[in-house]
């Protein structure tokens, strides 16, 4: 059966868009063929700097005939009904309908609609222009006088089916069977009839390696071989490899060199300069394990001089780049991190929350507060926090924003700060994503937590929370970072007091930011401004007093904190869900009001194990029964049963046994919880299972004797309370 070959040949497609476009094109074609009912075999795709291609094998000659029967009205039905039927079925007169008989319903009309299959050529000639016109590019453009939007000017469309051109036209470009090869080495054009001669011509004389995989593998293989020959090790960089795969049709790997004097620069700077500006791979000495004064560049030609000019040219460009970098490095070192820090006052963090300088002051105070809880020296934590953003005003970070933190670390070491401080500056942005490691050194933990908590609390204080998919300030990532840092380091932290501390700092900062803004206007000119300034000053005084005295949490603070805690809970659920934990168990533990994330997780784990046992499952069933009865009766009576059950009012031995079991279990559970031994706590709860089962087997809660009934309800309430010491079982499903 015939093969379909489609190639869309254009001017250079941005490397980052090629793979996605390749996949989209293949999927769009499959969808169109399926929609038209045209059967076919395997679909394969390829893409490169100047082309997207699809090959479909075993394309059926025609789509299948489709026969549809549509039931109509009875014979003798009103004219309107008949007319509607004809219209719907596309018939001109009722003579074209068949008459069928049904023993019960009598005679009625049936329209038989036969749609004959269409030729594959026709289907394809319709489908491809529609795909091209509707194709989605991240950015697209028009060219010349044309109307078509494509990523860059579309030059040719090759479309052959079974060796013959499928004729159509898109924006003045007629489909054909001619394509072009490499601009320098074999432009062509080449006439093609299908994949076989398309591939052999392009990959041969045309000097175009068609698939990404082929080019990627070739680049990797050549680079490794070249390195090996020169005693070097390639520093792997998958992202860069993918990018250069999209930049060359005929990749030729060349080894270039640079002045070894540049190696005095931090390796991150050299690597980043190579990567972002020049798309070079960095290499290390095989023996030294240090960055070598060489680079790997992927060219798109087999140069007639063997690549000498290309290597020399690239080397010169790199030198100019690294000269600039060295200039920034020297200037920054001369300025020093301490002198950079004050300039942060001129960079806005968020209008309502002041400058980055203001933020840093808050982070430093919070880091100091957190330090003892994470085992860090408070002075070091404060110093690291105070310097952690200073490199944002360095020339190097202005040039390479990716080096924020990294440069701060170098400049801190340069200034003689202790290693803990320098490392904390580098690591406080971590984790930057789900696969990024969390900081583990105590000072780094303190600063990383303080920075994230300040951001979160600040945004909550001004009421800017992420909504739906919108999270422009990456607050979810910050909260997830907090959760991961705490859990992975087993940091024992009651988070609420620190959130309160941070919230007060932030509210104060907000007040001060507004005061500053208003003070910029002339207060005397405007009575409203003057009034507001007085108000703000009074508020600031009160806030400061609250802050100094460590006043109890106020109502408006509590509301914000609850909301923020729920946000943390969602992130924690995400972490635990990824580990396969049930979300309902997390809810069950969370609703106890616990704010130590490490303990919450321990509890969830113990609970999960417990519920997997027979005792656990049965206790849950018993609990649910008790809770349901209580809920129903409490609603009926309009009271909450929480009194102490009285042994004197008990008539059955099982009642007394249950009470005794609850009392002893409660004491033991309390003891176990105090020791944070959740497994033992669950074990003690398990002892309630048998007495609870017996109670339900032998006792009717609802008796006529009101005082006995009330006492039994109090007994069930005591059972509920005992179980709730471990988790809110009402949140557990099943």
């Amino acid at each position: 059966m015939p093969e379909l070959l489609l190639e869309l040949f254009s001017e250079e497609i941005p490397a980052r868009m090629q793979a996605r476009a390749e996949a989209d094109l293949g999927a769009a074609l499959e969808a169109k063929l399926a929609e038209a009912g045209l059967k076919h075999g395997a679909v394969s795709t390829w893409s490169g700097p100047r082309r997207l291609g699809v090959r479909v094998v075993d394309v059926a000659a025609r789509s299948e005939d489709v026969r549809e029967e549509r039931k109509g009205p009875k014979l003798g039905a009103p004219e309107k009904a008949v007319a509607g039927f004809l219209r719907g079925a596309g018939l001109e007169s009722i003579d074209q309908a068949e008459v069928r008989s049904d023993p019960k319903k009598g005679d009625f009309y049936v329209a038989v609609i036969e749609t004959p299959g269409r030729k594959a050529e026709e289907i394809i000639a319709e489908a491809i222009p529609a795909i091209i016109r509707g194709f989605h590019w991240p950015k697209s453009m028009r060219t010349g006088t044309g109307e078509l939007r494509w990523v860059r000017p579309l030059q040719r469309i090759v479309c052959v089916l079974g060796g013959k051109v499928v004729p159509f036209e898109v924006d003045g470009i007629a489909s054909g069977n001619e394509t072009e090869g490499h601009r320098v080495h074999g432009r062509g054009p080449y006439t093609v009839t299908g994949w076989a001669d398309y591939q052999s011509q392009l990959e041969g004389e045309g000097h175009v390696l068609l698939t990404r995989a082929a080019r990627r593998d070739l680049i990797e293989k050549q680079a490794l071989a070249l390195c090996k020959k020169s005693g070097l090790t390639l520093i792997e960089d998958k992202g860069l490899l993918e990018e250069v795969t999209g930049l060359a049709e005929w990749p030729v790997v060349i080894l270039g060199d640079m002045d070894p004097a540049f190696l005095e620069l931090p390796p991150e700077v050299i690597q980043l300069s190579m990567r972002t500006h020049q798309k070079y791979f960095a290499v290390e000495g095989e023996k030294t394990g240090q960055l070598a004064p060489n680079f790997i560049v992927v060219a798109n030609i087999e140069a007639s001089d063997g690549g000498v000019a290309i290597a020399a040219g690239n080397s010169r460009v790199l030198s100019a780049r690294l000269d600039d970098a060295r200039f920034f490095w020297e200037n920054d070192k001369a300025t020093g991190l301490e002198a950079m820090a004050p300039k942060l006052a001129t960079i806005a963090f968020k209008e309502e929350l002041g400058s980055i300088g203001d933020k840093v002051a808050r982070v430093a105070a919070l880091a100091r507060e957190l330090a003892p809880k994470v085992g860090a020296d408070p002075d070091l934590a404060e110093t690291a926090a105070r310097l952690c953003k200073a490199d944002l005003v360095s020339e190097m970070v202005y040039e390479f924003p990716e080096l924020q933190g990294v440069m701060g670390r170098y400049y801190a070491l340069e200034a003689g700060e202790p290693a803990e401080v320098a490392n904390a500056i580098a690591e406080h942005y971590k984790p930057q994503g789900p696969s990024d490691a969390v900081p583990t050194a105590p000072v780094s933990i303190a600063v990383a937590l303080a920075d994230k908590l300040d951001t979160l609390v600040g945004f909550w204080a001004i009421g800017e929370k992420p909504t739906g998919s919108k999270d422009p300030f990456a607050l979810r990532r910050a909260a997830l970072g907090v959760v991961r840092i705490v859990l992975e380091n087993e940091v024992r932290l009651n988070i609420i007091p620190d959130l309160v501390f941070s919230l007060r700092l932030n509210v104060l900062a907000r007040n001060i930011a507004e005061q500053r803004k208003l003070a910029g206007r002339k207060a005397s000119d405007n009575r409203g401004t003057a009034h507001r300034l007085t108000e703000l000053a009074a508020e600031a005084n009160e806030l400061e007093a609250r802050f100094r005295l460590g006043a109890r949490v106020q109502a408006e603070e509590r509301e914000r904190l609850q909301d923020l805690l729920a946000f943390f809970a969602d992130r924690l659920k995400q972490v635990l869900r990824d580990e396969g934990k049930r979300h309902d168990l997390i809810d069950a533990v969370f609703s106890l009001g616990e704010d130590d994330l490490v303990l919450i997780v321990k509890r969830v784990e113990a609970l999960s194990d417990f519920l997997a046992t027979e005792d656990g499952a049965n206790l849950l069933a018993g609990y649910k029964r008790a809770a349901n009865i209580l809920k129903a009766e409490e609603k009926k009576d309009g009271v909450t049963y929480d009194g102490a059950p009285s042994p004197a009012k008990m008539t059955e031995p099982t009642e007394r046994a249950l009470l005794a079991a609850i009392e002893s279990a409660t004491a033991e559970v309390d003891g176990a919880l105090a020791r944070e031994d959740f497994e033992a706590a669950m074990g003690h709860l398990a002892k309630l299972r048998a007495p609870a089962d017996h109670f339900f087997e032998q006792v009717m809660v609802n008796t006529d004797e009101a005082s006995v009934r009330a006492n039994r309800l109090n007994l069930l309430a005591a059972l509920r309370a005992a179980v709730h010491k471990v988790a809110d079982f009402s949140k557990i499903e099943g």
């Binding site: 001017e11 028009r142 010349g144 006088t145 860059r152 798109n300 040219g313 460009v317």
Partner: protein, 296 residues
């Protein structure tokens, strides 16, 4: 096998070669615009002619002044005054890429030895509300040109689309002549009775202009000028004359660049100045487009 392209003999020879090449492709060879601009694109022959339906082909050298980039003649790569070569073809012909590659060959860049690439780089100039898609063109890893298909100018969609090429002449020449210091470029033929380097012609200017840009300019006066240019541009636009209105937008823009080089404005004020220049340039462009559309 075709012979390897011959190299131009000097900086001016390179320019003359480009002029002859693009003249041969049907471009009107224009002279530089007689106003201080920060980029060749801002010449009305590009930014305004890209608007409206009329076809247009032009090429020209344009001096670009960037006061803050001046380095007292001490930096081998950076200049406060340098040259760009601009080509605009409207509508862009389907073979513009080939035409461009032909121009590189004409100035001695042999594509069998040098690695020429088109690397994604979308151009944008918010001051004139313009953007387009295209590439930086790399030769052995060095950016030698900016290549853009204009999509919007003055905040308006353009149709037909113009293809715009910008060659950084000094950088390109340094590459072609293998020179690491711009001031060492041969300006005229090295075998001329009076051989001149780029430094012979421009070093003094770079030094003195740097002093002006960073130390000697009268900021108070520049601030007054800015306001005057702004007023003049606005009144010209209101009177229905977009071309002189655009000229005064350019004057305001350069005056702002001079003030900025002195570091005389705070970051917040800076944004406000940029917005004022943008309003002038966009306003003039929009009026020009309106008149062009009415005239056709």
């Amino acid at each position: 096998m075709p012979a390897a392209p011959t190299k131009p003999a000097s900086f001016q020879d390179l320019i003359l070669t480009l002029q002859a090449y693009w003249a041969d492709k049907g471009c009107a060879i224009l002279q530089p615009y007689d106003m201080e601009v920060g980029a060749g694109t801002l010449h009305p022959a590009t930014v305004l002619r890209a608007l409206g339906p009329k076809p247009w082909r032009a090429a020209y050298v344009q001096p670009s002044r960037r006061p803050a980039d001046a380095r007292y003649g001490e930096n081998p790569n950076r200049l406060g005054h340098y040259y760009q070569y601009q080509v605009i073809l409207k509508p862009n012909p389907p073979d513009l890429q080939d035409l461009y590659l032909g121009s590189l060959k004409a100035i001695g860049i042999d594509d069998t030895v040098h690695d020429i690439r088109f690397v994604e780089d979308d151009w944008e100039n918010p001051t004139v509300g313009a953007w387009g898609l295209g590439w930086e063109v790399w030769c052995d890893g060095m950016e030698v040109s900016q290549y853009t298909y204009f999509q919007q100018v003055g905040g308006l969609d353009v149709h037909p689309v113009s293809g715009e090429l910008t060659y950084g002449l000094e950088r390109l020449a340094m590459y072609v002549f293998g020179v690491d210091n711009v001031y060492e470029l041969p300006f005229n033929a090295p075998d001329s009775p009076t051989p001149l380097t780029y430094g012979d012609v421009f070093l003094g200017n770079e030094v003195q202009q740097s002093h002006f840009n960073f130390e000697q300019s009268d900021v108070e006066m520049l601030l007054r000028w800015f306001a005057d240019c702004e007023n003049q541009s606005n009144s010209l636009r209101e009177a229905g004359f977009p071309l002189p209105a655009y000229d005064y937008a350019l004057k305001a823009s350069h005056t702002f660049n001079l003030i900025d080089a002195r570091g005389a404005i705070s970051p917040t004020e800076r944004q406000a100045y940029i917005a004022r220049v943008r309003d002038l340039a966009r306003g003039a462009a929009a009026l020009y487009a309106e008149q062009e559309a009415g005239a056709s």
